[in-house]
Symmetry: C3
Subunit: 168 residues, 3 copies
């Protein structure tokens, strides 16, 4: 079974950079599974920044919803980096999908991979309780999804100011 590595952290904590370095330490080429749906200018410039940092070692595989299918399609092509779980969760919730069923299917799929999978996710539960119910629901869902994937992972890393802190 391929190794599963979860990299979590706050916004701009250097999660993606840590994950990219780690993926390329496992193999000379890797697949970047991008879950972002580019909906506005802010998102477009963020995606462009991330792409500019990655070099020719990367093949990009965009997939906003069917992460299990993306993992199946790319197994055998080297380490896969999923960036990120919280955007995937956002897409699932906005699209009216059953995120709990999808989350459990993802965990099952992780156990079936031959090549490694690195997953980037966000810590979103460290602030004051949000005012609106939707934000609280998202926060709860993101926390549970992180717990499920962390339980299945061989390694869990917390990014702090661009540095990796080993959790598991």
């Amino acid at each position: 079974m391929g190794k599963t590595i979860l990299i979590t952290g706050g916004a701009r904590s250097g999660k993606s950079g840590i994950a990219e370095t780690k993926a390329l330490s496992l193999a000379p080429r890797a697949v970047y599974i991008a879950t972002a749906e580019v909906r506005d200018h802010e998102m477009a410039s963020r995606v462009a920044r991330h792409q500019a940092r990655r070099g020719a070692e990367w093949v990009t595989h965009p997939e906003p919803l069917d992460l299990v299918g993306a993992l199946r399609a790319t197994d055998g092509q080297g380490p896969r980096l999923v960036d990120c779980l919280t955007l995937w969760l956002t897409n699932l919730m906005l699209g009216g999908h059953d995120w709990q069923a999808e989350g459990r299917a993802l965990v099952d799929a992780l156990h079936r991979q031959a090549d490694p999978v690195l997953l980037v996710t966000n810590e979103v539960g460290g602030g004051i309780v949000p005012d609106n119910a939707l934000a609280r629901e998202f926060r709860d869902a993101a926390g549970l999804l992180n717990q499920w994937v962390a339980a299945a992972a061989d390694e869990v890393i917390l990014a702090v100011a661009g540095l990796p802190l080993k959790v598991k």
Copy 2:
């Protein structure tokens, strides 16, 4: 003196699960001191979820305000799990109590316990500065209370994605 263990972390970081496992590793039966005041449906469903996870090993002792009294009443019944300090602080502040005096009384009481006490609390200071003054005041109070209890604790654990990270 009974051991004091503080388990902190963001929302849905798996704090309660870690605390429950730890309490039952100390003794076959434990007391759950619930500080939640059930005020709305969202809170009721959260309490129900937590209770469903706990089994017959647990005696529940609800106490929204008099934590020192609850610890005195339950000492001798095995490990006590206080879940959680931030709800207790909310109850104190909403009720117009002197949370600083209560917090210091709690720290004093922790030093007098024969049986272990595990306390769950929340990291609430990791986001952007909140817009409203009350949220900032709560955030400051929660941070100070966590520092006081952590200073008195024998063990402090940060929950990250359901996993324990040793801080003390």
Copy 3:
């Protein structure tokens, strides 16, 4: 070259206290470089609380903007404690300065110091994505600045409930 130590953490996580203790472990006297601009009563009372905690071992050097100049002016006077980077960033952004250029100049300056520099900063990216674009921009800037300084630092500490967690 003087040692560089970064102390990060959420609001009221005990960052300043940890940094002050650490500075006075390096030398009997230290310089406190205060970046706070006192604009309202809430800030004034926070500054007063911090000053009351510090004793006669400290010389205060207030500097809201020119941190590089403050480091140059105080090198040779013992350890310098910059408290804090996020207020400095706020001052730069509110004043319309180029925070990226200033941030890179700070990192360059850190490499030129003879005496140690301790820098306190805030984790602001651990909550739900803020509603307004300015808060998101600040959050991104603060995260990047923290990464730059952490990369240049000899030691990085995450404050959790008043306790130091070694990151680097």
